[in-house]
Symmetry: C2
Subunit: 180 residues, 2 copies
């Protein structure tokens, strides 16, 4: 009787959950130091009750000026955005903001490594696309072209990251192939 095929199915977990777990694995094993940045908040009102912790009573979500994750791997600065789509056929660009694209350009200009980790949730397929490619598709949109990257384009301009057990999303291997 053939062994059952290992299933790494992951329904219900977000890309962010998987990346946070992967980063924890990298950190614990001395492989890389990469953290999710906290969500930026505009705090309007804070109460300071006696004998207990300060309570934020009014605050708003601010638009992030950079990307989701950054850190260091083998001395190199790593910076990336993580995005999911439910589409089967293309990756929409509307989820990116101009300042995120500008941030990635600045990072690359400074010798860092910037990319996006894209997940097509329907097929649980994950890709790492370097910011240089993302910028090309972004500029195509700005000059009147399509507002998304076709699945075929993602496949030909990215590194596919196989879904694993530990770490779930072993994107460091993809970075190795970039820097080698």
């Amino acid at each position: 009787r053939p062994a059952k095929q290992m299933s790494y199915s992951n329904r219900g977990k977000t890309l962010e959950d998987d990346l946070n777990e992967s980063n924890q694995y990298y950190l614990s094993n001395g492989i890389a130091v990469i953290h999710k940045k906290p969500v930026p908040i505009q705090i309007v009102d804070v109460h300071y009750p006696q004998r207990s912790a300060a309570v934020i009573k009014e605050a708003y979500f601010k638009q992030a000026s950079t990307t989701d994750y950054n850190g260091v791997y083998k001395g190199k600065y790593i910076d990336f955005e993580a995005k999911e789509t439910g589409s089967h056929t293309s990756f929409p660009l509307k989820n990116f903001h101009e300042h995120q694209i500008e941030h990635m350009k600045s990072v690359v200009g400074q010798g860092g490594i910037a990319f996006v980790i894209m997940k097509f949730t329907a097929g649980e397929e994950t890709f790492l696309m370097q910011s240089e490619s993302l910028v090309q598709f972004w500029d195509r949109m700005l000059s009147g072209g399509r507002k998304s990257i076709t699945k075929a384009e993602v496949e030909s301009c990215s590194i596919k990251i196989p879904l694993g057990f530990q770490p779930r999303i072993d994107y460091i291997k993809a970075i190795d192939s970039i820097i080698s």
Copy 2:
């Protein structure tokens, strides 16, 4: 009549204000890409009013698991904590947390550059101390030694950062002397 001496006095501005301005200067001039991380918040309750932005109604400050600032300079990963003291004679270690020290060690282990920018507010003196030195003073405390770094020790183990006009705190010059 002699020209008045330029004054860079800065009463009322915090170290963080000055560093944010300096980072903005570095970014605008293509010198470095370094940002303050958002303050981590534990969100408990969010309201979603019709036709207006989501409002956070209850949230708490979380202890930061890393440091205040990070980014990239000449391809190198930069990571630092900024701290002020009102003391004239020593820099207290009680403002650092064990996990911040551990984070700096991990960064150095991965080939990044980690340090603390310390300001003695009374004399407006600012120093950059590399994490390797900070860790030594931290370990001295853990083994029963003093709970602070004397001013003389700071002076001999750090690079003094002169207060300037633009950028206010030109710590990139100190990093140059570290990496050269």
